[in-house]
Amino acid sequence: LTDLSLELCGLRLAHPVLNGSGTFDAIAARRAFGDDLLARFPFSAFVSKTITPEPRAGNPPPRLYETPAGLINSIGLPNKGLDGFLIEDLPVLSDLPVPLIVSVMAPSGEGFAHLVEGLAGRDQVAAIELNVSCPNVKSGLIVGEQPSETAALLDSLRPLTTKPLIVKLSPNVADPAAIALAAEEAGADAVSLINTLRASARDPVTLEPWLGAGSGGLSGPAIKAVALEQVARVAGEVSLPLIGMGGIESGADALEFLVAGASAIAVGTASFRDPMAAARVHSELDRELRSRGIDALPGVERASTST
């Protein structure tokens, strides 16, 4: 394979293929596949499932609904909470051969600060991704859907750590670039996009909502065209590096996101179909670049000139 290594907000990555948060559990996958998984780890950085200040059990089932070329999920962020993560999961995730990015979410600025402070002193944590697709309990507004809320959150978290802060953008807004700009001005190091699109399904017999929690988020190839447009829109407005994702299943898909302005890409739902889908995307991307005579990834240059 060609050298596709890059620097992404200070992280040295062997290639531009990451995982989307919540789409790969390296600890559980190791139970199924053994240590071979580590030897053949398909991602250049591992993004954890979102952790919250307190443990969460997750949503009642059913949690999944298959759509044409897609999947609606309503998982509800089951996790062990910060303490459980630090004690039980972080030591195991340290075995991974790639940098660790920890995804966090809290219902308040104070909760986010608690999470960032808890991770700031941990050498095993290379970067922190802020999952802002949650309501602020005080304002009732979804943080990542409001430029002002996003900026206020970054303002409060930025002094707490020197680790890179990545903001995961929601696609459920009229102008994602406005949110990305607010994040950039308030000191974010990168943005990742897109999160799932809000979606629902009904039981074909009873016509009641199918998902236990009522509604969820759509992912998979069904959302790729939306993701590609949002990546291009945001890339045109901010100089931060972008991690692009949404329905990427092939090297050709990955190249489209990189050409649209992403510095790196993430494979998400495709990993459900094949745990090594990201390795295939990586090798196909390499082949695409070589067959097209593309020497450098546009986003890599972009990342290095903007910092």
Binding site: A29, K49, P61, M276
Partner: protein
């Protein structure tokens, strides 16, 4: 708890070697050239090469317990039992010999030995319903190979919703039930279990069950009332099969959820709050 057999990392292509009708079901077979022999109760995530198509479904792989696994020339011959009820099962039921089948597995926690289910117990009672008879077929063979005495009870809804008994269980002594009475006892397979458990030798056997949620719930209740050790092979919709999607949440008796793909699909009957879980059995 018995050790799971680990899966090779990633998805691999197998060739479909046969696909035969058996009653209202089909049994399709594939030659796995790269994987280890599975343990009974483990499952595979299956994707046909012609997945997708008009309507964009099926998109995700489908979880199938392995019904039989035998050493074969060049690998392990895997048998799966399927009833075409949706886009995924429909595509699998239509597989033709020579076609490719993409598999990930074996996955999940297998059945335990009777001794592990109930210390000091030597025999086994296998209770299967409908398409859920599949993992019990391999369990029966693996237990028989270790000389474990068994009773096998299988039940079906009606003639259209039945199959696999002759091919997967051979001519061993199997007691049957059907709701329409087309074969065996007219009624539920759990009626047969009830009678069996009322007998003297009930306490000397471990119970293993797989079938629709209502059947499993009755087995769970019957065993709980009598304080009998039992294992249930359960089903829940899952996208990945290896612990990543968190879709296959099964409520635990102790609160919270387990992920059926990595903490199951075989569970101790007293681990789960109920076998009646919304979305399971679909």
């Amino acid at each position: 708890v018995s050790e799971r057999v680990l899966a090779p990392v990633g998805r691999r292509r197998c060739e479909v070697t046969a696909n035969i009708a058996s009653g209202g079901y089909r049994i399709f077979s594939a030659l796995d050239e790269a994987g280890p022999p599975p343990r009974a109760g483990q499952f595979y995530m299956l994707t046909g090469e012609r997945w997708g198509g008009a309507g964009g479904r099926p998109y995700l792989p489908r979880a199938f317990s392995v019904a039989d696994a035998k050493p074969a020339d060049g690998g392990v011959a895997l048998d799966f039992l399927v009833e075409a009820v949706g886009p995924g099962t429909g595509a699998l039921a239509a597989l033709e010999p020579g076609e490719g089948l993409l598999i990930t597995g074996p996955l999940g926690r297998p059945f335990s030995s009777p001794e592990e289910v109930v210390p000091g117990v030597a025999g086994a009672v296998l209770v299967g319903g409908g398409i859920g008879i599949a993992p019990l077929a391999l369990l029966r063979r693996q237990l028989a190979a270790s000389g474990v005495a068994q009773r096998v009870l299988l039940g079906f809804r009606d003639r259209r919703h039945s199959g696999g008994v002759e091919e997967l269980f051979g001519c061993e002594e199997v007691r049957l039930a059907s709701e329409d009475g087309h074969v065996g006892h007219r009624g539920y397979v759990t009626d047969l279990l009830s009678v069996l458990l009322a007998g003297d030798d009930a306490a000397t056997a471990a119970v293993y069950a797989c079938g629709p949620p209502a059947m499993l719930e009755t087995v769970r209740e019957l065993c709980a009332e009598r304080r009998l050790g039992a294992e249930l092979a359960m089903e829940a919709p899952m996208a990945c099969g290896f612990g990543s999607c968190f879709g296959c949440a099964m409520p635990l008796a102790s609160g919270g959820y387990m992920r059926l793909c990595v903490d199951g699909p075989v569970v101790r009957a007293d681990e789960v709050e109920t076998a009646l879980v919304a979305g399971s059995g679909h």
